[in-house]
């Protein structure tokens, strides 16, 4: 299984994230929490915005006066809220684009993941519209610049009965109602943004919309300190009898404004439309790798236990009334459009037992690209390839395609997610004497490529979640290593240390080796599937 190998950008992210792991710890690593952080920042902006509204006045002179009061006399509460409102909005832009770039780098935008990618694109525009309408409300020199440049740009569409920019021709042209309209827009647009954010997470199960408390505390605390050290700027009041010459732009929201001013408007409109369509269409852009085949349900082996539904990270399985007359109320049904073929469902199925004979090894829910029978065969083939040195323990590695062990290597089986291996597979390897120890090498601890692979694996091994690892499996012969794609050296080091510990444990007890027939059959299938995956 060599598909989905991390590219250079993904490896770059991994290196940066390793640095952040040291500062924040894996659990609070902000790059692994970009989605939840975006939500958190949205709520900070919402709460501070509601607070600011209590002190905000609408009117040609009253607007600026109220903002000035907040920033000067009320600096310690309303001024602080204003700075938090501004900087949290700026950070939303940073988080949003980093999230987009990271998901693209990790290849999490194609196939079944198209929905989240596609619905994320309008969010970008609504974040910008929300922010830009906010700048108008301050009605300082920057607001004047933003209002006039925006109005002149929108007027190039030629769809407005009256040029919007006429409103800003002179002080006599502007009315108090303008600010009422802007307040309405600045509330209505973020409400639509909230709706879009909700839609964005609809195709994943148990979507994380709250960062871990520690990271939330760090973010809010640092924002408050930054807001106190460098309060949000307030320029002089807008004056339509003059023109803003040099303006301190907020480059997160307004970096396009110099372009709007200088470039030909049709070119900018075409660029915006083409850019938006191009980004939105990326999931279908060439080169299109063949889409992974979705999981399949085999009703003869499905008792409707719902474990696959509980473990699927993408809401891709649902229970429907039984269709085959078996004495169970429900059966699992895969929604192919949503399935990313991570195999976690296969690892969750109680029928996924490698102890059964390999020839007819079928489970309740299986992965066509790497079935349980093939995985079992690959494990047996990989065990055969382990170097047989006298006295040296044999260590078999079950590895995630997105972690440190993503490269094929002797004694290693690479799979889409380590959670696709049912706990009984570890038991099988040790009880059949295929290896003296098993390394489970998953993604970096900070974030699983398939969301819950790490959590479910740890819970199953710790016997906290079904299917549980049997008690008879010696835990000292299992090692879990959570490491990113650039940490191959750490994986090798920890595996080597593990081997040394295994040497001290002596040989495995009560081993029941595979029969020759079973072994030969598995080897043939295993080598065949390894060759197919490598191709």
């Amino acid at each position: 299984m060599s598909k989905g190998r991390p590219g250079p950008l993904a490896r770059g992210f991994d290196r940066i994230e390793r640095g952040l792991d040291r500062a924040f710890g894996p659990e609070w690593n902000p790059l692994a929490q970009l989605g939840p952080l975006g939500w958190f920042l949205f709520w900070i902006v919402t709460v501070t915005g509601a607070y600011l509204f209590a002190f905000f006045d609408t009117g040609l002179t009253e607007t600026y006066a109220s903002i000035e009061w907040m920033s000067r006399a009320g600096w310690w509460h309303a001024g602080l809220a204003r700075s938090l409102h501004r900087y949290a909005s700026d950070l939303m832009v940073v988080v949003m684009f980093t999230h987009l770039l990271r998901e693209w780098a990790l290849g999490r935008f194609r196939g079944a993941r198209w929905f989240s990618w596609f619905t994320g694109v309008p969010i970008i525009w609504f974040v910008y519209m929300s922010g830009i309408t906010g700048f108008w409300l301050v009605w300082d020199r920057l607001a004047q610049y933003v209002a006039i440049t925006t109005a002149e740009f929108l007027d190039t569409l030629g769809i407005f009965g009256e040029p919007i920019a006429r409103n800003f021709l002179s002080p006599a042209h502007l009315s108090d109602r303008f600010f009422t309209l802007m307040v309405f827009l600045h509330i209505a647009i973020p409400l639509i943004l909230l709706l879009l954010m909700w839609i964005h997470i609809q195709r994943i199960s148990a979507a994380r919309t709250r960062p871990p408390r520690g990271l939330a505390a760090i973010t809010l605390g640092a924002l408050v300190v930054a807001a106190l050290i460098a309060p949000a700027p307030l320029n002089g009041p807008a004056d339509l009898s003059t023109v803003p010459q040099a303006v301190g732009l907020d480059w997160f929201f307004l970096s396009a404004y110099p372009v709007l001013e200088r470039a030909a408007a049709p070119l900018v409109w075409i660029g915006a439309v083409v850019g938006t369509v191009a980004v939105a269409a990326l999931p279908w852009a060439p080169p299109r790798p063949p889409r992974e085949k979705p999981a399949e349900v085999f009703l003869d082996h499905c008792n409707g236990c719902e474990r696959c539904v509980a473990d699927c990270p993408y809401n891709a399985i649902r229970m429907v009334p039984r269709s085959d007359g078996a004495p169970f109320a429900f059966e699992a049904q895969v929604l192919p459009d949503r399935c990313v073929a991570c195999g976690i469902c296969m690892g969750a199925c109680p029928s996924s037992s490698p102890f059964r004979r390999s020839g007819g090894l079928v489970t309740g829910i299986d992965l066509p690209d790497l079935s349980l029978a093939e995985l079992r065969a690959q494990v047996i083939a990989a065990a055969e390839a382990l170097p047989a040195k006298a006295g040296a323990p044999r260590v078999l590695t079950l590895s995630c395609a997105h972690g440190a062990g993503h490269e094929e290597a002797p004694g290693r089986v690479v799979m889409p997610c380590v959670a696709m291996a049912p706990p009984s597979m570890f038991d099988f390897i040790l009880s059949r004497g295929l290896a003296d120890g098993v390394v489970i090498a998953g993604c970096a601890a900070r974030e699983c490529h398939n969301r819950f692979g790490r959590a479910w694996t740890e819970a199953r091994v710790a016997r906290a979640r079904d299917p549980m690892l049997r008690e008879r499996v010696p835990r000292e012969r299992l090692l879990t290593v959570w490491a990113g794609p650039t940490e191959a050296a750490r994986l090798a080091r920890e595996t080597s240390d593990f081997g040394a510990r295994l040497a001290g444990l002596g040989p495995l007890q009560r081993v029941r080796p595979l029969s020759e027939e079973e072994r030969a059959e598995a080897l043939a299938l295993g080598r065949q599937t390894i060759r197919r995956a490598a191709e």
């Binding site: 700026d90 040029p163 990271l215 760090i218 803003p244 040099a246 110099p258």
Partner: protein, 173 residues
């Protein structure tokens, strides 16, 4: 210190450094929209051009109900208005502004902005409904001294006599 406390401190320090950088980029570097020694002239107008009309024939009038018998039949579409803005002898605008609306039934609308050097300028404005014919036309020539950063707004209002200069920090000549 426990790991969590260490991460709170180091993570907080990293976050604070990032947020201060964000605060800096939130206002710096500044953008020079208009050069320091320049002023801006904005011309905005809204004026409906004339419609092409002809006398109605007896047959046409007979086909109409008595209460709708107008002597002239006019096209829905308005003619463009012709606008000229000349600054110090150089034409900044000299064109026909088409009527608005899908069928050309609305008024001609124009909004234009020019950054010009501050100082004295001779401005000449001219608007004609029909430059070749005898339609209404308005003209205005004026000497102005623009200060740096001034916004000189020129509007058009037939009831006020044509072109209107909106008072700003302008010193008329």
């Amino acid at each position: 210190m426990t790991g969590r406390v260490v991460h709170l401190l180091t993570g907080g320090a990293v976050s604070l450094a990032l947020f201060l950088a964000v605060a800096a980029v939130s206002q710096w570097p500044s953008w020079q929209s208009v050069p320091d020694e320049a002023a801006v002239i904005r011309l905005s107008l809204r004026h409906g051009g004339v419609r092409a009309c002809r006398p109605a024939s007896e047959e046409e009038l007979a086909r109409l109900p008595p209460n709708m018998r107008l002597r002239e039949i006019c096209d829905r579409r308005r003619a463009p208005v012709h606008v000229r803005l000349v600054l110090d002898g150089q034409a900044l605008i000299d064109r026909a502004v088409p009527p608005s609306g899908l069928w050309g039934t609305g008024p001609s609308r124009l909004y234009a902005r020019f950054a010009v050097p501050a100082g004295p300028h001779q401005i000449a404005l001219w608007l004609a409904e029909n430059p070749e014919g005898d339609g209404a036309r308005w003209e205005l020539a004026r000497q102005v001294t623009l200060t740096p950063g001034e916004n000189l707004a020129i509007d058009f209002d037939t009831e006020a006599g044509g072109f209107v200069f909106h008072e700003g920090r302008r010193e008329d000549g």
